[in-house]
């Protein structure tokens, strides 16, 4: 995957693994709760190069969204962050809040799940895009407006010159999400974060937005993180996939490797849960039990209580094992031959 358009002030298309746009190393996040401090993200590391999409997938409470929102530090004030997050070589975890605010919207664009909740109902669409542009760049209203209209056209809003003057309630869910994407891209960020951006949308609209992300990334060549609970949606877009369970990455690798030949039983369970993998007697495959929250994690493998392959050795803590382009957190990965999509 190679970008073709080098953006103004941005990073050019990736020419190799040399300098990732984003490097996350040993990221942990703790939340203060009524039951004390809980690690909701534990020791997560990954890189995202320009033009590359990294997918974070997992069920609710797995830590995927917190991992993503740790990057622009959009976390509750009681959150405590450890580890390193470097964007274009710059450490973000120690940055002042005002410097961070300058990066948000300029170098980091964010698209959230609920477009209607993310847009301000009191202002027109173009006003909201213009204010992002004018906050970060020294341009006049007319220039900002023209850019807003261009952006709305780029994300596929018909008659952008007219629709720019509309208020959010006049937009459908799909159109509002396109407007959100236009806003996230307004200052040509080098990193785009998309947190369940299609989950609230209808199927045909979801397909349109997925295609839009794919086209935009090809044209703009930014680094992208795509978060979803839906393995199929992540599979449509991601070059690399990180599967999270109970605050940890349990497996990561190239999209085709993770989906085609998973190394962790949880990934196999998620894939096998798709209805087309139902048993011959018509029963859907289940992962027994319910997902545990990070705070209730056992000392050993966190998935072991639900895992059909668990053995006594799984009761000891499992380190993350790196081999070539893959990582996994299963002590039996070498001996198990898990089932992928085929």
């Amino acid at each position: 995957m190679s970008g073709t358009v080098t953006q103004e002030g941005g990073v050019g298309p990736a020419t190799g693994p040399a300098a990732p746009t984003l490097a996350v190393e040993g990221l942990s996040v703790e939340f203060a709760t009524a039951h004390g401090r809980v690690r909701v993200v534990e020791d997560v590391s990954f890189h995202v190069a320009a033009g590359e999409t990294v997918g974070l997938v997992g069920e609710s409470g797995s830590g995927k969204t917190v991992t993503c929102m740790s990057i622009p530090r959009l976390l509750p004030s009681h959150a405590r962050l450890e580890g390193s997050v470097r964007l274009e070589g710059r450490e973000l975890t120690t940055l002042s809040e005002s410097a961070m605010r300058d990066l948000r919207g300029r170098r980091i664009g964010v698209v959230f799940q609920e477009p209607s909740a993310s847009l301000n109902p009191a202002f027109t669409i173009s006003h909201q895009i213009e204010s992002v542009i004018r906050r970060h760049e020294d341009v006049g209203r007319a220039v900002a407006h023209r850019r807003a209209v261009d952006l709305l056209g780029m994300v596929g809003i018909p008659r952008p010159d007219l629709r720019a003057r509309a208020y959010p309630h006049e937009f459908s869910g799909g159109m509002a999400q396109r407007a959100m994407i236009a806003m996230a891209l307004a200052c040509s960020p080098s990193l785009l974060l998309a947190d369940e951006p299609t989950t609230a949308l209808d199927l045909t609209i979801q397909a349109q937005i997925i295609d839009l992300f794919r086209r935009l990334q090809r044209e703009l060549g930014m680094a992208m993180i795509f978060v979803s609970h839906d393995l199929a949606v992540v599979g449509e877009l991601a070059d690399r996939i990180h599967v999270m369970y109970a605050a940890q990455v349990v497996e990561s690798g190239e999209r085709d490797d993770v989906l085609g030949a998973p190394l962790h039983p949880y990934t196999e369970g998620l894939l096998g849960a798709m209805p087309r993998f139902a048993e011959a007697d018509g029963r859907l495959r289940v992962i027994p039990g319910t997902a545990i929250l990070a705070g209730e994690a056992p000392a050993g493998c966190r998935f072991a209580p639900r895992c059909g392959y668990a053995q006594p050795q799984c009761e000891r803590p499992v380190p993350l094992v790196r081999t070539d382009a893959r990582e996994h957190r299963c002590v039996r990965a070498d001996e198990l031959s898990l089932r992928g999509w085929q």
């Binding site: 209808d202 199927l203 609209i205 397909a207 295609d211 449509e236 849960a273 859907l284």
Partner: protein, 351 residues
Amino acid sequence: MTETPTAADAVLEVDDLVVRFGRRTRLGRRPVIHAVNGVSFRIGRGETLALVGESGSGKSTTARAVLNLVPTTSGRVRLLGQDLAGLSGRDLRGMRRHAQMIFQDPYSSLDPSMSVDEIIAEPLRVHTRLSRTDRRARVVEALELAGLSRRYLGRYPHEFSGGQRQRIAIARALATRPELVIADEAVSALDVSTRNQILNLLKDLQDELGLAYLFISHDLGVVGHLAHRVAVMYLGTIVELGETSQVFEQPAHPYTSALLASAPSTERNRADADTRVQLSGEPPDPSDPPSGCYFHSRCAHIFGPCAERRPQLLDVPHGGTAACHLHDPDLWVPVEAVTSGTQEVVVDRDE
């Protein structure tokens, strides 16, 4: 496996159901929303019929109209042969015990101030005249059918996970021993691992109790697995109806094809992604539906009559019906297979 049930064995018969919203108010006339526009279907004992379609297609309104939870503008709904429209008060409540509903969100559909036994007993108090002891026995029976232990009777909803809450909602629906259960996106709020447990439970209950399901879902994978027959809705109308496997394998309506092609897939080769059939635009405003076929404004196969005449449901090769002029022998040379998800459709009109 299932033929369309005849009137005799149908648990639910819906004939030409129309639901319109909107009325004159002090602030002026609000536009009339044509939520459901002439929908007909039947569900037999032990059968699952799925309604699929996007927001605004009228699938939830259809379900609510079946239970008389929204007023119907015209048409007829018969539950176990009895017309619900003529009933009110005690008679209506008496009939409603035969049809129960499971809602999408197990967090908002359970009253947090009621204990589990109160929640499950409530429909029994409303719809039946069982004694306290009999009620108690029914509550325990329903709870155990839903796969929960009777130890939970005195607990409150906040003590349960999403999947367990949905089991409580299922127990509540089963308490009156209904013939028909309407599940409106009943598994959409659940994580995949929990979702399959609930779907397996629904299947087991159907096998055991002979329940009929009206199953509303946007998840085509789930529908393909669970439903015997499927009705595809668009803008308040059924555009295609047939056995699920047949409809999914050889869709006869262009909208069904587009919907199937929109489903995300882990199998799809990345190189194919850009060539799949893509439905452009968005559904039209239900207060101002297009002329002729409601789908014509987004359809890739539009021809002569589409903008002028509303197509009726016609028999199609897969054995079901579809409302599309492409299948009208009077208008057209019969078309073999209209579309299958990914292949390009070429209809040669000059032959």
